[in-house]
Point group: C2
Chain length 333, copies 2
């Protein structure tokens, strides 16, 4: 999960436009078991980051943002479809502090209403201007396949004993980052950007996405819990294979004592959560892992900027995009 706090004024206007369009959107009514979960899921809110990125990508290339709405809604529908299905697979009880679809209804309804959302996403995308449609469809489907691959890798890695940092980075790239890049590129294509510029936009978004996911890993342990609004160390308690844990597992290989301690905590059948978080955080600190994570984060942030600077648009526009990307970064770290 990446953090999505946005304050910027035009951004807020895009958010409002998306929210209003979603509110007015009718998905269908019969059978209600199919459509109520879709209405429910789409009304759970969130910052609508991905559809906003479609608008931003379009505006960045001076495009007509009125053309961005349908593709933006398509992206949001797709994103929510993945959440519904991922939540079944992860057996997650809550999403945005509300019951997940498969909990509120059941697994079968969640499978089928998710399927319907994916079709509805394509229907929404197909309302785009027909000149751009083939390119948009190609990008949308390619991105969708990657997101599925990323989710499968994530599930594989949960059961795998050893996951390398390279494998982890590839997984978060596919599962999370390509959809951010894809959203920006979709906006670029709507604005009529050339393929190379649009692709640079995609790579910018992708690397920003990877940096955000890494930051999310760090924040879980090191954020000011009150400001971040989440239980501190939730990932540690759940043995979630984050960058921090994988890096620690890699590094303790050469330190028998630390290795034993870390594995003991990971394998403990019962434990005091606070104690476990403190003990593993101490190991992270000793190994300087937050710093290593920030270095990796910075690397992707800088790569993102490299792609951005390749694009021939006004420096002011680029600066706006950077400011927006920075605004997504939570300041407490």
């Amino acid at each position: 999960m990446i953090n999505e706090s946005m304050t910027n004024e035009p951004i807020a206007a895009y958010q409002q436009q998306i929210e209003l369009a979603l509110k007015n959107k009718k998905y269908g009514s019969n059978p209600k078991e199919l459509y109520e979960p879709i209405e429910y899921m789409m009304s759970l809110g969130g910052k609508r980051l991905r559809p906003v990125l479609v608008f931003i990508g379009c505006e960045f290339f001076g495009g007509d943002t009125s053309k961005a709405l349908h593709p933006a809604l398509a992206i949001e529908l797709f994103h929510n479809f993945t959440l519904v299905h991922d939540d079944i697979m992860d057996k997650a009880p809550l999403r945005r502090n509300q019951s997940t679809v498969h909990t509120k209804w059941n697994d079968n309804i969640a499978i089928l209403s998710g399927d319907t959302m994916l079709v509805k996403a394509y229907q929404e995308l197909c309302k785009s201007p027909s000149v751009e449609l083939p390119k948009l469809l190609e990008l949308f489907s390619e991105t969708a396949v990657k997101v599925c691959e990323g989710q499968q890798l994530d599930m594989n890695y949960e059961k795998l004993y050893k996951v390398s940092i390279a494998q982890y980075l590839k997984m978060i790239e596919l599962k999370t980052a390509v959809l951010l890049g894809g959203s920006l590129k979709m906006g670029a294509l709507i604005a009529g950007a050339d393929e190379k510029s649009a692709q640079n936009c995609y790579d910018f978004g992708k690397h920003i996405g990877i940096a955000f996911q890494l930051q999310d890993d760090v924040l879980d342990v090191y954020a000011d819990a009150e400001k971040f609004g989440k239980q501190k160390g939730g990932d540690i308690v759940a043995n979630k294979k984050t960058y921090l844990l994988l890096k620690a597992l890699e590094m303790v290989e050469s330190n028998r004592y630390l290795k034993e301690e870390l594995h003991q905590w990971i394998n403990a059948p019962s434990f005091d959560a606070k104690e476990k978080v403190e003990a593993i955080t101490a190991i992270y600190n000793f190994l300087n892992i937050p710093e290593l994570a920030r270095t990796e984060m910075k690397k992707h942030y800088d790569m993102a900027l490299t792609y951005l600077h390749e694009i021939s648009v006004d420096e002011i526009k680029k600066q706006e995009l950077i400011t927006f990307a920075d605004s997504l970064m939570v300041r407490e770290v």
Copy 2:
């Protein structure tokens, strides 16, 4: 399940072309947990009725059938996606006498590889000539949504005590018949048929589809088991809400003795399968239900012909299509 035996020569050529294209198709390789189930499912065979219908629809309007391959494959991918997800929902262990995807792998893999198949179906469809693409996409998505609605209704009706014949007919129309109509119409659109003719083609296929499903209900009980290749009365043993059972339930309302007997068999916690099949078949026979089912079947078959006769193409072509539709009807009834 509708019966799909085809012998016709050009049909066999279409089948071969589809089979070859499917055999050569690469879906992806990494992660293998995502792509092996897709390869597996798509190689399980079957008569490829739906993609064949795309070719037939195209040929019917004198279109260039070389343009029909991609949409045909898209339809077959979509159909198989629905089978993968339906099998999870129905907890079905077997499909075409082989393990279902969720049994051979697991539910999560079946959900995700199914999702990927749906996206791959769109990717395949998008290889269609761009002039026809918007119409094809519209038809494809509309049909896909209806199939999802049909599956949801089917699940609803499993748990519902009273399901009317009208509800049942609407359910099989959505779950099964519209995809047959949609396949034919897709071929018609590729051939450049006008909207009205293409829609008549759709309605022809839809009503033939309803007739076939009704026939399937009858065959389960009354077919020569050896020729039909299925356990006789499987639907009766499983209390499956077929046309026969629903009609019987409706008719026994006015006959206290039969009502009690039928409900006793339906609610029996344990029973001898052969005895149950014989007893319920006797009730069906007494109520003349096979004849009523055939009347309903005939009604839809005749409606199909009415739509066909609305279309302005050579009578010879129409006769070919009728011959093909008839060839799908199993002769043992």
